[in-house]
Amino acid sequence: MEIHKYEKWWLVFGGGTLLVFLIVLGVSAFHGGTHPNNSKWTINYEKVDEIAPFDNPGVHKVEGKDWDYEVVLVAQAFAYTPMEIEIPVGSKVRFIATTKDVIHGLGIAGTNINLMLEPGYVSEKITTVDEVGEYTIVCNEYCGTGHALMYSTLKVVDPNDNSN
């Protein structure tokens, strides 16, 4: 089979580009730790309210861990608990979330926090919230009639700013 010389150049250039993408992604993920949701934690989704930490949803300051805050979120049709999350800027946060019924999404607009919440599984993401702002948390997986009414808010605040 003959391949035109320019086609060889093109395949080397195109294939090489894809290879570079893969290397950048791979190093950033497996060395830099930027994996998407990789939790394997399972739970009885019918008893979420009785099982720690979901028996106490909200923002919790923690000591002696690799992160400063744990944010525990529970999703159900068609609301999140809690409705508002406030965290000081620069904190390292572990988001922990699950659902009590169908599949929901947890997308925090303007951030890389984007998790599928599936019944029976706990989804997790650890990140440092390094920019002040108000971020809308939306359910981004169809869950029923009230899907578009399902939201919450993440407020990343500067504790030294007394203007409010």
Binding site: W9, G110, N112
Partner: protein, 41 residues
């Protein structure tokens, strides 16, 4: 035999540029998104 050689010598400069243009689009879109990703938490 001579015919085969001829087709390898076809003038495909435009094709070369066009495909590299496609490659450029791929790179620009990807790098832009990667940069956004890096900039967000």
């Amino acid at each position: 035999m001579t015919k085969q050689k001829k087709s390898s010598d076809d003038n495909l400069k435009g094709t070369l540029f066009a495909t590299f243009g496609v490659g450029l689009v791929i790179i620009i879109v990807w790098v832009y998104c990667f940069d956004l990703f890096i900039g967000r938490f």
